[in-house]
Amino acid sequence: MLAFLTSWLADAPITAVPYALAALGLIISERSGVLNLTAEGLMLVGALTGVGSCLTFDGHPGLALVVAMVSASCVSLLFAGLVVVLRVNQVIAGLSIVFFCQGLTGLVGTLANWQNKHIEGMAHLAIWPFSEIPVIGRIFFMQDPVVYLTVVIFFLVNYWLSSTMMGLRIRSVGENPAAADAAGISVALHRVLAIVLGSSLIGLAGGYISVVNVKLWVTGMTGGRGWIAVALVVFARWAPWPALWGALLFGCIEAVIPHIAAAGIRVPQYLMMMTPYLATIAVMIWVGATQRVGSSEPGALGQPHVREERR
């Protein structure tokens, strides 16, 4: 039983990291008032380019993750252009980007022949001497570097959003763009910045799935994790730390699936694979049943700012 718990909880951070990073990226962009549904697509871009970088440059997982971040940011510029400059409906634009990325990554992955090619991945980092502690050491001090980096990123982003001038401007643009505009803050600039920075974290989340966790590229491999991240943002009420706890919860749920099968418990495989999605819906129901509507949602979420049309 203890062995089961240890191996399960040791795997939980690995499955939680993509949720956490993607949700954090979405939070940055949605705090600036841009309803962002692009996560599923941008994660695919990160996952594909990460593996592509590993195959092209022969390893170097760290470089691959940077490539994943940069490429997702580049694609997000298209989204930013659509919603910030051209004021396209943000749901339509987000969905288009997701399906554009699904098609594009499928095409590039096949043409470049990156499908199902195994890559080296990233070594675990044992923080000696803590890693020698029984149970705890395996769970907390023998993870790959990105797990620790994720915690650092959360500290930085939380500080950046809540305590710096730039963070304040991004939040003001999301709460009341007309007032921010009148105060001399460029709405378009800050929204584009939030989208691009947030998308780099989403790309990192995707790159982590393919480069560090699964260690290969399969078409459509993110399997709805981007949508779960969108739900996670609502669950976290657009705040970074609750998103991390929510991501850990989903990480635990997803990590238990292979362990239950490995432990020899007979559960129908495909019904088991539904659990992350059903759990997400259950959490959304809980949010809807317990919290007041719109209490912490950014005030201008989903609304394009059109200075010329303001009342």
Partner: protein, 367 residues
């Protein structure tokens, strides 16, 4: 200056120009002649299609080959394929457009198609009803199945304020895994190793009516005509227009918003369920793993391009069917993955959506 009036000057009053600073200024157009609107639309659509052709060129299909493949779609044999393919596309487009009319983002078209297929398949597999009415029963069951799966998301939205975008998208994955559970388990055809159900019997399949018209297409056209009547002439259609025009006013004057929403959601799901039925009963002839793949964004695209008008849905659905058949040809002969179709669809939506900006705004350069 014929199209700029009082409002257009607010661009300047909002931020007084610094002396000598040249910049772009946006004006809101009050109106634009129809031919100019069409011109903007055509130009941006053309740019989008040019981009798609360019991407395919990079992928190894020269524009000449592509034109050849497109022309090949219009011979008698392929055209029959297009008409068969058009039926489910029209139905998902109709499903999306009905739901979008009242602002319900039904993105669960895949899942509703899956459940439509499963319900129809259940009637066939458990041999419910006499052979003469079996097909009718399967169709009704499919509509009920899709409807119930969509109503689940509608209920979650109305009762627990769960965002329907997230709920419907996640329920797609649940539906597909449930289908896998059946196809790799209880419903698997014992004769094959593939995840397929036993083939439907001949009287359980949608047949050709002659002239290359499949009875699936008939179902789609009847559904579209019924929806057009519903929207333009029935009471619920009037309520739907009212709700989409002004939700708060609709509430104030006592329009039963919840009931209209639930009915619309149910009808939308039923259309998607029928699309699943049409796919399994005409093209596949059995339940397969992938009979609902790649339809959700097609539905969104068709609804978006047709501006939620049922009659236009039929036209756009046919055009997307041409795209689907071309995509299948490219997949077979050039090994281009079928997801390419989704990418082109996304490019089309993005270019058409951006054209609206240029229709509604005028950009001026002032010095």
């Amino acid at each position: 200056m014929h199209d700029s009036s009082a409002l257009s000057s607010t661009g300047e009053t909002a931020s007084p120009p610094a002396a000598g600073r040249s910049r772009f200024v946006l004006d809101v157009r009050q109106s634009l002649p129809a031919w100019k609107q069409s011109l903007f639309l055509a130009v941006s659509l053309g740019l989008g299609l040019a981009l798609s052709v360019a991407i395919l060129w990079v992928a190894g299909i020269s524009p000449i080959d592509l034109a050849g493949e497109l022309a090949g779609v219009f011979n008698a044999d392929s055209l029959r394929g297009v008409l068969v393919q058009a039926a489910p596309l029209m139905l998902v487009g109709l499903a999306a457009s009905l739901a979008f009319r009242i602002g319900f983002w039904n993105l669960g078209l895949d899942g509703q198609m899956v459940f439509g297929g499963i319900f129809a398949g259940a009637i066939s597999i458990y041999q419910i009803g006499p052979p003469s009415t079996r097909l009718l029963l399967m169709g009704i069951a499919a509509a009920v199945g899709g409807s119930l799966w969509c109503l689940l998301a509608g209920f979650l939205k109305l009762r627990f304020r769960v965002n329907e975008i997230i709920a419907t998208l996640l329920l797609n994955y649940v539906a597909v895994y449930f289908l896998f559970h059946l196809l790799y388990g209880a419903w698997q055809d014992a004769k094959t190793a593939f995840p397929q159900s036993t083939p439907f019997q001949p009287f359980e399949r949608l047949t050709d009516l002659g002239y290359g018209i499949n009875s699936g297409l008939l179902i789609a056209i009847v559904a579209i005509l019924a929806a057009a009547w519903l929207i333009h002439y029935s009471r619920i259609g009037f309520y739907m227009r009212f709700i989409s025009a002004n939700p708060s006013m609709a509430k104030v004057v006592g329009i039963p918003i919840r009931a209209v929403t639930l009915w619309t959601v149910a009808i939308s799901g039923a259309c998607a369920g029928l699309a699943g039925f049409v796919n399994v009963a005409s093209q596949e002839g059995r339940l397969t793993e992938s009979y609902a793949d790649g339809y959700v964004f097609s539905g969104v695209l068709i609804a978006f391009l047709s501006r939620n008008d049922p009659i236009v849905v039929a036209v756009v659905g046919f055009l997307i069917a041409v795209l689907f058949i071309t995509g299948q040809t490219l997949q077979v002969f050039y090994q281009i993955p079928f997801t390419m179709v989704q990418m082109i669809e996304a490019i089309i939506v993005m270019s058409v959506a951006s054209s609206e900006f240029f229709i509604r705004h005028r950009i001026r350069w002032i010095r």
